[in-house]
Amino acid sequence: MPTFMYVFRGGGYSTPGALSPAELQQHLAKWTAWTEELLAAGKRPQGLPLEYPPTGRTVRGRERIVTDGPYAESKDLISGTLTIEAASLDEAAALARGCPILELDGSVEVRPVLVPG
């Protein structure tokens, strides 16, 4: 079965103060439900959420210049990844439509994973 990577961007990065504790929890419940759906459908989801608030370093060029932090707009900042198994890119993209990040100013980039051999 082909593997696909979801690259999540944003999703609560741009307006973190806008949600109340109850709303944050309700949003989280949608993630849990979506992940469980993928599991139940045999898509073998494996997620890697990234630290919040977004921190990190970027290393660039032959000079290996290290700068602090990712520099994208908050809605474009990578907030995590998830790999799933799906029959095709179409199916993987269709599954991504159920992702709760889309309700919170975020996006999902769907990329086929290259498997050697």
């Binding site: 999703g11 609560g12 973190p16 103060g17 949600l19 109340s20 504790p21 109850a22 709303e23 944050l24 929890q25 949003h27 989280l28 993630w31 849990t32 992940t35 989801p45 494996q46 997620g47 959420p49 990234l50 630290e51 919040y52 608030p53 907030s79 995590g80 998830l82």
Partner: protein, 397 residues
Amino acid sequence: MDEAREHVEDLFRRESARLVAALVRALGPANLALAEDVVHDALVTAMHAWRHEVPRDPAAWILQVARRRAIDVLRRDRRLDDEVPEASVDGALSAEADAENQLSMMFAICDDALSPETHVSLILRLLCGFSTAEIARAFLVDAGTIDRRLHRGRARLQALGALADVRDAVAVRARQPSIEHALYLLFNEGYDAGGALCADALRLAELLLGASAVEPSTVHALAALFCFSAARLPARVDGDGALLLLEEQDRRRWDGALVERGVAHLGGAAAGDHWTRWHLEAAIAFEHVRAPSLAETRWTRIVEYYDALLAHAPGPVIAMNRALAVCEARGVEEGRAALDALANDARLLRYSLFWAARADLERRAGRPDDARALWERALSLARTDAERGAYQRRLRE
């Protein structure tokens, strides 16, 4: 109420309240905004980190993140005027300090310089973890009003050097009545708006009982009242969410566990040396939950309680409820006369339930046309969909 499930459903706002109280206790009320930021940040972090897997002990996880953030602020941000030792943060965040943190916050909030409405708004924000918009919805008032109350309340809190000392018996007793009053308002408003806040009012009343300097009998009476009233919530609306009259409610749906909890509180309430308003209201609520049917309710006794209550705390809504009890105890005509006698009260004239009560008595007296006009009036004043649904149903019948 299923307590385990309830707790998980409310995890974020309960933890938010717990941690804000702890951090404000450690960092001082001047740093209220900072404490709220740190806690909110921890919750947003949890929302990101738990996307695909919730940890085994979610509360402990949030606490650790909030702790780390708070310590970071202490070390780097220098937003604090005075140095706060890290050990005091750890002390305040410990499980043993939890009840006292929240009690200190509750006593600090119910400051005499603030109005009871501001007390309630602050309690909902800081001790229940609700946002301004959620408080406004639960209270059926606009968000701007809540915002102004919170602004005033925060300014007052931030000016305090420290939260209240809940072991200072003199100070605690002096402030106890305004806390009880705030919780009573919280429960009543919550009840009218559908009951979402009633569990919080009961939780905070039981928290208050944990303060050793508090005079417990009046708080027990208040908690008993909350239990008996909340026990009736599940039967209060029909399948479409429209309010049901007491006579229409399926008593089997009343929450027996809550009634028992209320009876236990009544025991504690009886230990006091005098009856308060809460005692009388709890006694009335108890008469309702112990009666097997509307007809078998001890209405004469309820009228007596209302008479005593009116002597204690005169008010139009209590007078209205007394008139309805009179109607059951002594007949519709006498009840109508008692209700009509209140028809000049400005507050009742704006109160939909007053018009609904009058309409119902006209219906029972066999004057459907008069009843109709009164239901229309009630409908025009109704504040919730549950109420509107009930009046619309009456108008269709």
